[in-house]
């Protein structure tokens, strides 16, 4: 709820309109400082917990950039020290105080606390530089819509040590879009002086990426006006830039953790630019401003205290948005001469059917045509929407999240699934957090990636990392096989499943004919999210002696093992092949498996703590009484030599031997 701020007008979105005159700047700056002092006071009174970082001493620095943003598409990506940015952007003082206190009236209903705030185009997050790639994506989305909106990305000087920042600066530069990187250079990071951790110069870093670069000091009397000119220039130029602001932190990093010497603190207090503006006002005017701010804040405090503790209306047990009904274009054929072509055709359908679909990744353009040539022919036919990027897996994942947040349908290709670990923070701390925290926010991002071994590519190009990603809450992991309609899985994942999704493709299957053969659909249990859209298949005996559960590139191998078990060992063998690994279609699998006598889960990945473990744990919890076994890769790196690799990755002989052992 927005309360009138004394002496301050708001625009139609509630954003305070702050003049450049001393009285306006002082009035708002003083309000920021008083609000944060209130927060620290509430903290010492035991009325809030967790962590909080105030911008006391840096109010003008935090205000100046946000204050100058006057287009409704302008966005602010902030960090742990975000209160000044947020209050300047929203004017929502109660929302902030109540949020930090964990009350219902908080801007995020208590979900985000001090560090994770989302409101219109304002987002903050507690991972240093974590949102910078997202900022590049948001800016690219604005550019694609011809919006002059600027994305401002706030980082501290300590965060100049984060690599992702530079991937993002590079992306913003080559994409020529309106990103303003703002470095709040307060000389310290928590307790470490940045002079000890920073090589070279800050501005040179921006310049090296071709960013227009400025350096300003918040103690300069013309500071806020200068910042406004920088913002205007970014808007006008349509290009990315970097603004370094020299400032000083007057308060502690968080609470009670200020270990600096008294004389240093005294020098910072003497420099205090907010106090300096106050001193330029007549005493009576300053006192009047302070008095009306005090009254306003007393009201905010009372309202916050009156707000009940945050509680869930209904606690969510998962964060997946439901399947949407829109299907654009015709269904993909169940059979294809090979899986590579099926995926290529699906990408073509997606690009052709929806302008919002973008292909992003390394080496996507002709004549290379992307990893394993899956995107062959597309860059020519869909110019501008098939985007070859620098080698920046985290950066392009962030950018794709930004694009998805702004309504685009990015399909990101990661050249080898092994490289997904570079995207992990973007998925684990970002992609899933937006829809996770805010029910109505969707991140329809799909990452496709070739996975798997048996190609002799060695330890870092042969892995099936699904075991890592299935454990990310809110992340969908799909791993189709040549028995599935892989093209349709992909189309549906992009068009009808508006959730962050990792789509694994086994290298070995690209050349394999796509053919459902004698497989049939396993009826999806209605309680399973996505189980209908991404079906589980089965073939073989109805009363099997053994059930082989497998997926992805393991399936052809499992089929050969099943044939041997059937023909040479006379066993009745069933194969169950899910495509959806997370969210695990629990009801569907339980219905299919609970009465089976023996279940062997075969996977190519390092399977300790993996998919098989989860499936078998689920069965155990449901009272399964048969025998179980896991077959997978031992926890060792995959060797390069084909002969060594063959010994490591389960093959049909290993599966047959394991089944015989079990029996």
């Amino acid at each position: 709820m927005l309360f009138p701020i004394p002496g301050v007008e708001r625009n139609e979105h509630g954003k305070p309109l702050i003049g450049l005159d001393d009285a306006s700047l002082y009035a708002f700056g003083h309000l920021l400082r008083s609000t944060e002092q209130l927060i620290l006071d509430l903290f010492s009174r035991g009325l809030l917990s967790g962590t909080t970082h105030t911008c006391i001493g840096q109010e003008l620095c935090q205000m100046a950039v946000v204050r100058a943003l006057d287009h409704e598409d302008d966005a602010v990506l902030s960090n742990h020290r975000n209160h000044g940015h947020y209050m300047t952007y929203s004017g929502d003082f109660l929302g902030l105080v109540a949020e930090v206190m964990g009350r219902k009236a908080g801007v995020c209903g208590g979900y985000g606390g001090s560090q994770h705030i989302a409101y219109r185009h304002f987002h903050s997050n507690g991972i240093q530089a974590g949102m910078t790639g997202i900022g590049a994506g948001l800016a690219l989305a604005r550019k694609r819509k011809d919006s002059p909106g600027i994305v401002t990305i706030m980082v501290g000087d300590g965060t100049l040590g984060e690599g992702l920042l530079y991937e993002s600066m590079n992306l913003a530069s080559i994409w020529n879009c309106r990103v303003l990187f703002v470095v709040e250079n307060n000389g310290i990071a928590q307790t470490t002086y940045t002079s000890e951790t920073l090589g070279g110069s800050i501005e040179a870093r921006g310049q090296a990426f071709g960013l227009q670069t400025w350096r300003l000091n918040d103690a300069d009397p013309e500071f806020s006006a200068s910042v406004a000119r920088v913002v205007a220039q970014v808007r006008e130029s349509g290009r990315a830039g970097m603004l370094v602001i020299d400032t000083r932190r007057l308060g502690p990093h968080s609470k009670g953790d200020d270990l600096r010497a008294d004389d240093e603190k005294a020098a910072i207090a003497a420099r205090d630019p907010l106090a300096a503006i106050g001193r330029r006002l007549a005493d009576s005017e300053r006192e009047a401003i302070e008095a009306r701010n005090t009254v306003f804040l007393a009201r905010i405090e009372a309202e916050a205290l009156a707000s009940p503790e945050a509680s869930f209306d209904a606690q969510r047990l998962h964060t997946f948005s439901p399947v949407s009904t829109t299907r654009i274009g015709s269904l993909q054929p169940a059979k294809a001469s090979n899986v590579r072509l099926a995926i290529n055709q699906a990408l073509r359908t997606l690009l052709g059917g929806d302008e919002r679909v973008l292909l992003i990744g390394e080496d996507l353009h002709e004549p290379y045509g992307g990893a394993f040539k899956v995107s062959a022919g597309l860059s020519g036919d869909f110019a501008g929407r098939v985007i070859s990027t620098p080698i920046s897996e985290a950066g392009i994942t962030g950018a794709s999240i930004g694009l998805a947040l702004d309504g685009e349908r990015p399909i990101l290709e990661i050249m080898f699934a092994d490289f997904l670990t570079l995207c992990m923070d973007q998925l684990y701390n970002h992609a899933v957090k937006f829809p996770g925290m805010f029910e109505d926010v969707k991140v329809p991002l799909l990452i496709r990636t070739p996975a798997g071994g048996r190609r002799g590519y060695g330890p870092t190009h042969s892995q099936n990392p699904e075991n890592l990603f299935v454990s990310v809450p809110g992340l969908t992991v799909l791993f189709g096989s040549h028995r599935h309609n892989v093209g349709q899985l992909l189309v549906d994942a992009v068009q009808r499943w508006p959730n962050p999704t990792v789509f694994l493709e086994h290298k070995l299957l690209y050349g394999e004919a796509q053919d459902p053969a004698d497989y049939e659909l396993v009826a999806a249990s209605p309680e399973d999210q996505g189980a209908d859209l991404f079906p589980t298949l089965r073939r073989g005996a109805d009363a099997p002696d053994v059930t082989l559960l497998s997926f992805g590139g393991m399936l052809p191998v499992v089929e050969r093992a099943a044939k041997q078990l059937e023909e040479q060992e006379e066993l009745a063998v069933e194969i169950v092949a899910p495509a959806l690994l997370a969210p695990l279609p629990r009801g569907t699998l339980l219905d299919a498996l609970l009465d089976r006598p023996r279940i062997v889960v075969v996977e190519e990945s390092h399977h300790e703590f993996g998919v098989s473990a989860e499936i078998l744990a689920m069965l155990a919890e449901a009272g399964f009484t048969g025998q179980v076994l896991r077959v997978g890769l031992a926890p060792v790196p995959i060797a390069s030599a084909r002969s060594l690799e063959r010994e490591q990755i389960p093959d049909e002989q290993m599966i047959v031997a394991s089944v015989l052992d079990l029996i």
Binding site: N338, Y510, G511, Q568, E570, L571, Q653, I663
Partner: protein, 376 residues
């Protein structure tokens, strides 16, 4: 020395290529660099060239099939009559040790509480069908008929010098019996003393009426057992796969000592006879046993048995259950004149109460006027 020509790798992602042409024949001379065939992937067709001059001495792949990259397509020799190196011709294939049961057979063996060496294999490996066959009742007989009863496997001869002697059929039958009993039956034994007077009187009366020279007592008691088995099907049963298998016919086993040989004679379908028919048939079989003139069908497939050691005046004998039966009655008369009816029974099928009940009924002849089955 012969040179091999291999299927080439065309791109890193295809481990197999399609052989689309092989343009040479055995005996043909080729020059170095000559195109001998072509392979194809989804992207390209590539010629295969002879790496050296030579004569084609072996073709190892078929046109229009997928071949493994690196596999041998053609052998070239220095002369047309050179032979393909032997090691290359041998195809190695890791298979199951021959003779081992299939996994399905093992599952069935486990389910029926059998071991692989009990069930004869029709082919190279023991199959599910073999086990099912055996379990369906044919198996036990097959084993006996084929003269390969189960024994304790002794892999090594004892250290003490000696000679191996083959077993006579009846000895093999006994080994089979005790092995089944050891491995599967859960035998119990119960006995009770009885007053011989009513049976003796009944037998005497029967002998008088039928002018018999030998006492029909044991045959009459065996007949009584057949009647009891008809009343109580569990007596004429065995245990198969966690269930009781009640036989559809009563094949009465009856021990006959003929010189050195102990026969368990089997009178098939005893329940289809009447008292005198049974006594006659039983007499006939005993006579032929004494002359060692029984046919195999009369020596296998007992479903319930009767054994008497009254002749030897032992005070007790505890028989071993014949395979796949639940009850063998043991009759004894001790030197001091005590008459004893005992029974070895498979505790998986019968309990002691049922056995005692049976023995009590068996200890007296049937009361003639109790024959009122037709009133229900």
């Amino acid at each position: 020395m012969a040179v091999s020509i291999h299927a080439p790798r065309i791109n890193n992602n295809d481990d197999q290529v399609k052989l689309i042409a092989l343009d040479v024949a055995i005996g043909q001379k080729v020059d170095r660099g000559a195109v001998i065939g072509q392979v194809e992937t989804d992207k390209a067709v590539v010629d295969i060239e002879a790496p050296a001059e030579g004569y084609v001495i072996g073709l190892q792949a078929e046109v229009d099939t997928m071949v493994e990259v690196g596999s041998i397509l053609v052998w070239l020799g220095e002369s047309a009559d050179e032979v393909v190196p032997a090691a290359a011709a041998v195809e190695t294939r890791a298979g199951q040790a021959s003779g081992a049961p299939t996994a399905k057979a093992r599952l069935l063996l486990k389910r029926h509480g059998l071991t692989a060496d009990q069930v004869p294999a029709a082919g190279e490996r023991l199959t599910a069908e073999d086990v099912e066959h055996y379990v369906a009742g044919k198996g036990g007989r097959t084993a006996q008929a084929s003269g390969s009863p189960v024994a304790t496997r002794i892999d090594r001869l004892p250290d003490v010098p000696g000679a191996l002697r083959p077993l006579r059929p009846d000895e093999r039958g006994m080994v089979n019996t005790v092995s089944w009993s050891r491995d599967f039956a859960v035998p119990g034994y119960i006995e009770l003393e009885y007053d011989p007077q009513p049976w003796d009187a009944y037998a005497k009366d029967y002998a008088d009426r039928h002018r018999l020279m030998l006492s029909p007592l044991l045959s009459l008691m065996a007949w009584r057992l057949v009647e009891l088995a008809r009343e109580t099907p569990a007596l004429n049963a065995t245990h198969v796969g966690e269930q009781r298998y009640e036989y559809g016919e009563i094949n009465l086993g009856f021990t006959v000592q003929a010189g050195e040989t102990l026969y368990l004679t089997v009178l098939r379908n005893a329940d289809t006879l009447d008292e005198s028919g049974f006594v006659n048939a039983q007499g006939d079989i005993q006579r032929r046993a004494a002359g060692h003139r029984l046919v195999p069908a009369e020596l296998q497939g007992a479903t319930i048995s009767f054994s008497s050691m009254a002749r030897w005046k032992v005070s007790r004998h505890i028989p071993i259950l014949p395979p796949h039966t639940a009850l063998m009655v043991a009759h004894a008369v001790s030197a001091d004149g005590r008459h004893v009816l005992g029974a070895t029974y498979d505790h998986r099928v019968l309990n002691g109460f049922q056995v005692v009940n049976t023995l009590r009924k068996l200890s007296k002849p049937a009361v003639p006027d109790r024959k009122k089955e037709n009133t229900q």
